[in-house]
């Protein structure tokens, strides 16, 4: 609880505003080794355990006639399959990528939700590495798909020298396309997710820090009024963050699908 953990210490000086330090918490286990664990990684491990436990239990208990919870999980799985993968890629070529996109979507969604769960209060995707790893997976998939479907040469030619463009344009276009292919796509996926999580945490933590400061710590009781406003803001942003968690998972999944789909030949 980055924002709250040191709040008591800073109580005298003013509201403890969230800072970059929230995203760079100190290591608490196995310090100095490549397996060091800090707060965010702990949150991530817990989220992973919960996600896997829930999904595995649901999967093992799955019946042909679903109960309420199973229906909900199935609705999500079918939403990912039909509304994300099949809608963009079509059923034939999309089938191969359904497990990947499902994994991405659910993992990102659950990790994002950690940002509003009391006690965790920081998204498990709130270090750049996690989104980066997701993005690299997508990156590998669309390169592999391109090379497999077209061969390396034709794939690069099609991506770097799009047909129907007069040749002088290539001087500008080709470097941009190359940059897009190797750098912009994975980095944009990473930064979109990461920055959203940072922004969400900063907003929420700021609201709650001011609430705490004005209502609890401030000697002047008249300041409780703006404190309440901050609290309302905190509530609204909590709901908004839940929405953003789902939206970002959706966007990440849909962009991954779209990128992979672009590696396939235009018409089959």
């Amino acid at each position: 609880m980055g924002a709250w953990g040191t709040l008591v210490l800073a109580a005298e000086s003013g509201p403890h505003l969230p800072s970059v330090e929230d995203f760079l918490p100190p290591e608490i286990l196995f310090e100095g080794t490549p397996f060091a664990i800090n707060r965010i990684i702990l949150v991530r491990l817990i989220a992973t355990a919960v996600l896997l436990a829930v999904m595995v239990v649901t999967a093992y208990r799955a019946k042909v006639v679903p109960g309420r919870w199973q229906s909900a999980v199935e609705w999500v799985l079918e939403f990912i399959r039909d509304n994300i993968v099949y809608q963009i890629m079509g059923e034939l070529r999309g089938r191969r990528y359904v497990p990947m996109i499902t994994t991405l979507f659910l993992t990102i969604f659950v990790f994002n939700l950690c940002g509003v769960i009391p006690g965790m209060n920081i998204a498990a995707t709130a270090t750049i590495t996690m989104p980066l790893v997701f993005a690299i997976w997508t990156f590998c998939q669309y390169w592999i798909a391109g090379i497999r479907e077209k061969g390396l040469g034709p794939f690069l030619k099609e991506e770097l020298f799009p047909a129907g463009v007069p040749w002088p344009i290539y001087i500008i276009l080709t470097p941009i396309q190359l940059l897009e292919l190797v750098l912009i796509r994975p980095l944009s996926l990473t930064i979109r997710l990461f920055a959203n999580m940072i922004a969400g945490h900063l907003l929420l933590a700021t609201c709650l820090a001011f609430t705490q400061f004005y209502i609890v710590e401030s000697a002047d009781k008249i300041l409780a009024l703006p404190g309440c406003l901050w609290l309302v803001g905190g509530l609204i942003f909590t709901l908004f963050e839940m929405f953003v968690a789902a939206l970002q998972a959706y966007v990440f999944a849909i962009l991954s699908t779209a990128y992979i789909n672009q590696s396939y030949p235009e018409n089959e």
């Binding site: 397996f35 060091a36 990684i41 491990l45 042909v64 270090t127 590495t129 980066l132 997976w137």
Partner: protein
Amino acid sequence: MKPLAEGGIDLFLPETYDIVWSLVILVVIAAVFYKVVLPRFQKVFDERSARIEGGIAKAEQARKEADEAKRKYEERLSTARVEASKIRDDARAEASHIIADARSRAETDAAQITANAQRSIESQQQQALVSLKGEVGTLATALAGKILGAKLEDGAVQASMIDQMIADMDGDGDGK
């Protein structure tokens, strides 16, 4: 907002342990999803669609059977109907036959009765004629005798005798 120590850039520089854990977590989640969770759900989906298809096939089968039964029933119904109408026609024909028979028999009977009656009337007429003939002769003779007898005695007696005779005849006629 107090300016913090420079360090914002640190956010964008991945730590080694962070990379390690991210990879481990992603690999674990992906492995479990690929190997366990999704295949099981897929199995359930397949089973469900198989069930639904089986249900549809069963319903189709049932429909076919019902159609067959209905066809048989209708067939039987139509044969029954044909049979019934045949029976009815037969009955009607028989009835008309019977009626015609009865009528012809009645006509014969009637003709016979009429002939008998005719015959008995004729015989009675004959009989009446015969008996009348005999009686008229007797009467005429008697009348003639009486007329002749009375004429001898008196003109007034003659007239009364004639009257009496006529009355006798009437009485005879009535008596007959």
